[in-house]
Symmetry: C2
Subunit: 289 residues, 2 copies
């Protein structure tokens, strides 16, 4: 399949499965189902779940059965956006061209919808893990994947990065703090995808370590590309970014360096196994939106 | 051991373990460690983790090794309180005689501290589950317990109840809606304790079912007792409670009926196994604070 077709094929499956969540679900609490569906189905690119499934496919053929994990990662990503947009946080009225969750459902329900999504991620993974496991090895890999996803999304991962971002006006931001923030805020959830994909697909310890590095480099390159796109859009000029400490040329060089390191890791594997991921890497770091 | 001693012994262990969390932890994100510790160590009675461990003890002797689950349940309870207190929710300035989390750390950090605690609960459980499991049966019970805790604390459990509570001015509250709200908002997290305790301790499917009912009755009785205590304190008069639909005498009768049903379940077991839980049930439903 061509890259674009493969991308669309995977995205369609994910979109379909997300759309099934709480569909026609009734209950006294159904306003939260609406609120969750509103944000979950508001046109995300599904990069993270696609990445998770495609890394998984490197190591096994029946990778699509692990879709509950892909959904869980999208749930974690979505909850973090809902909470980020809140008035007490970034106070954003729009996301992806639509009103943010709290603008439609109110702040209180947006907080609960975020909590509900984070909780649902672990409910979804543990539910599937229980049903899917028969051997010790299967049980172990499921628990290992759940644990890695929890670590990458927690206070030593994504949430830790959000805290530093939040306090960036109070903390003296130097290159080290910025690097920490990018590793946590952006790379960590990407690593949750690449690492859980490798674990569930049956990769070795070495494979998992490699995919952890792949996610790290990809996430950092992605974030610096974001910084460059942001200056073109003239937004958030007062924010400390990679470009606070470096010229534009240096930033572009760094993106190339990081993406080369990401590609180097993929080169350990058969090229037919990693063609898609190489194309995705190029697409993400050269994107213009 | 006498009931009070046994209570204090268990509470001290839990308090000690909670105090070890993030102790002297350094990192650029350490303000969230402070914020989490502030709420986690602000004088909770630890009823839920004590209940979890004591139900576990009914079914096994080395119940104390499952303390990571007790901590995880307290983390879930604490995150729900931090988010409940937020200005957009109940807007409370004080809890347990201390300033609420957002009053001390600001709203944004309180939101992230809540998120961090919920995430940490699953990180803690999956971490321990991985280390503790050797046999298929051990793996299965860990995943089963994690899944039940996730379900009871999610949108079909505790969060679902909070949504109904939040919308109680918009929803027409009748007896059925109130019952649903109490089952979710209060009983569900109590059931997370009793069910996970039975699963981890090695109880049978029947034991788990019984403990699920025990938690349901205990939680409902606890909530109606709360309603009675609230009228004595003259607070939240405009809120719909059990007393909106029933006289005080009827409420007391209902508490007795529910606690008798809870005790009936405990009577299936050897009395020396359930003495503590019987005493705890009596204490909770007769409490005056």
């Amino acid at each position: 399949m061509e890259f674009q077709d493969e991308m669309r094929y995977t995205k369609d499956i994910i979109d379909q499965e997300l759309d099934n969540l709480f569909k026609d679900q009734k209950g006294y609490q159904d306003r939260i189902f609406e609120s969750i569906r509103y944000s979950l189905l508001s046109g995300g690119k599904r990069l993270r779940p696609i990445l998770m499934l495609k890394v998984c496919q490197m190591f096994c053929d029946n990778y699509l059965k692990f879709i509950p994990y892909a959904l869980a990662i999208e749930m974690i990503h979505t909850y973090s956006l809902i909470h980020d947009d809140l008035p007490a946080m970034d106070n954003d009225d729009f996301r992806r061209g639509k009103l943010t969750n709290h603008k439609v459902f109110g702040e209180a329900l947006a907080i609960l919808a975020g909590d509900g999504l984070l909780n649902l991620a672990f409910e979804t993974m543990s539910n599937f893990a229980l049903k899917d496991s028969e051997t010790i090895e299967e049980y172990r890999r499921h628990l290992w994947a759940i644990n890695e996803i929890a670590k990458f999304s927690g206070v030593f991962g994504m949430i830790g990065g959000q805290v530093v971002d939040l306090l960036s006006n109070e903390i003296h931001m130097d290159r080290d703090v910025l690097k920490f923030m990018y590793e946590c805020k952006t790379s960590a959830l990407i690593q949750a995808c690449t690492v859980s994909g490798a674990i569930l697909g049956g990769g070795s310890e070495l494979d998992v370590e490699r995919m952890k590095k792949f996610g790290l480099y990809l996430g950092l390159a992605y974030q610096i590309r974001d910084d460059i796109l942001d200056i073109h859009e003239d937004k958030e000029i007062d924010k400390v970014t990679y470009l606070t400490f470096n010229e534009l040329d240096k930033a572009k060089e760094e993106i190339n360096r990081l993406s080369n390191k990401a590609i180097e890791i993929l080169n350990y594997y058969d090229s037919n196994k990693v063609n898609f991921l190489k194309a995705l890497t190029h697409k993400l770091i050269n994107r213009t939106y």
